[in-house]
């Protein structure tokens, strides 16, 4: 995390005004012509965007730091986030929402070849692209032009993944397995917390062995943190992401998801230029076909993604760091293109990214979330080696 003294940086008022004005405009449109729940999802997206940015909460860098230097700081914060989410989601999934009259559901997807290959590809590609699903969104939203390129190719990759979706999902699969459907809530929580604790202890020991020291308090403190202007300690990010994810579950009825919208945006553009996307088997499934027929703003994933982009933009304007535009070169652009393309493709095969599959899956007690975690991490080990050719 950055150690820049935030008080020396000025708030970027024009960018702040830009972010607030577009937030008001989208709020108005959503409330007047879509629905109140979409408006709540948008506000939650704003909260997620600010949290992701201020805590610099990305999976990619955290995994890379552990793989290269056995620095477990970010990974430990992610495990704490997952542990909190497991307790909260296991308690509330399959119960009535307090926002609308209906039952909230978990993210349960099949454990099959497509998840294994898709998550491996995703883990590898996120090291090239420089960000995961949520990471790409919040860094693209906070002024990083390279991540805008990654996002564009993420969209193209998602579209290609949806074209091949039927092939991949017809490969051998064990089907979906939900701990909540096979064990009690308490048992589900205990099983998952035990696993997360074992991983926490294991990575902490590796960190200590490699670096001869480990400070567990490093995720609770930051030398120059400020609630409004950031940067936040990682633990603030863990807690706030679980809090907003819980609200997302209550408002949307399902766990937070990111990458479905990328495929949808690609499909909308492809349809507009004459490609018969609607005839592809993926876009004939119930949810995707309804999404394709309606305005993009009807899709809650799109709405929360816009919120995340604007939230990150507002966060970066408050921190005064929006002006830190990095330069691009040919190698970085190639890395962004390849990373985005393969992340998008992998996410479609694996039923989501680090948010929809890893976070949402594990929080929902789904086995596919754990499989995603394992194979994406293995993919990242390869990705870190390949990354050296581009960065």
């Amino acid at each position: 995390m950055s150690e820049i003294n935030i008080t020396k940086l000025k708030i970027d008022r024009p960018v702040l005004v830009y972010g607030i004005l577009f937030s008001i405009l989208f709020s108005y449109i959503l409330f007047n012509s879509v629905g109140d729940r979409h408006l709540y999802v948008f506000f939650i997206g704003l909260g997620l965007g600010v949290s992701l940015y201020q805590a610099a909460f990305g999976f990619t860098g955290g995994w890379r730091n552990f793989i290269e230097k056995r620095d477990s700081k970010s990974l430990r914060a992610q495990l704490i986030m997952l542990a909190l989410a497991v307790v909260v989601f296991s308690t509330f999934i399959n119960s009535k929402s307090f926002i609308y009259d209906g039952t909230m559901i978990g993210a349960i997807a099949p454990v099959g070849t497509s998840v294994v290959i898709g998550s491996f590809i995703f883990g590898l590609a996120m090291q090239l692209g420089g960000g995961c699903g949520s990471g790409t969104l919040f860094t693209a939203g906070s002024g990083n032009l390279k991540m805008v390129i990654t996002l564009v190719f993420f969209i193209i990759g998602s579209l290609l993944g949806s074209y091949h979706f039927e092939f991949w999902t017809n490969l051998p699969s064990l089907g979906g397995f939900s701990l909540l459907n096979n064990f009690s809530k308490i048992q589900t929580i205990l099983i998952q917390l035990s696993l997360l604790t074992l991983i926490y202890i294991y990575i902490s020991r590796l960190d200590f062995k490699y670096n001869n020291k480990i400070e567990h308090s490093d995720i609770t403190s930051n030398s120059s943190h400020s609630f409004i202007r950031g940067p936040w300690p990682l633990l603030w990010g863990s807690v706030s992401l679980v809090f907003f994810s819980f609200l997302m579950l209550q408002a949307a009825g399902h766990p937070w998801s990111v990458t479905f919208a990328f495929g949808l945006w690609g499909a909308k553009i492809a349809s507009a230029i004459g490609v018969d996307v609607a005839s592809w088997s993926y876009w004939q499934l119930e949810y995707p076909s309804t999404a394709l027929e309606n305005s993009v703003l009807a899709d809650p994933t799109t709405v929360s993604n816009i919120g995340i982009i604007l939230g990150a933009l507002i966060g970066s304007a408050l921190s005064g760091k929006i002006n830190k535009f990095s330069s691009l070169n040919k190698k970085l652009i190639i890395a962004a293109v390849l990373g985005g393309l393969f992340m998008g493709y992998g996410a479609r095969l694996a039923f989501g990214c680090n948010i929809g599959a890893l976070f949402g899956g594990i929080a929902s007690g789904s086995l596919h979330g754990w499989v995603w975690f394992l194979f994406a991490f293995l993919g990242s080990i390869v990705g870190v080696k390949l990354r050296k050719y581009f960065y």
Binding site: H38, S257, E286, T290, V296, L297, F351
Partner: protein
């Protein structure tokens, strides 16, 4: 760089609003059924749609 970035972001937002204006939308079409806890036929944007607590086969 900053100007290019804001042109791209603004263009993206404008296209979203324009598409929404042209396409229109039914109320909450992608949220699962309110007032009931059985069908949830449209439930989760992972790609498979979902039914009965999102148990994919």
């Amino acid at each position: 760089m900053k100007i290019t970035y804001f042109i791209l972001v603004t263009l993206f937002f404008v296209v979203l609003i324009w598409e929404h204006d042209n396409q229109g939308v039914a109320y909450n079409p992608l949220f699962h059924v309110e007032g009931g806890d059985e069908s949830n036929s449209i439930s989760m944007p992972c790609g498979l749609g979902g039914s009965h607590n999102h148990n994919h086969k």
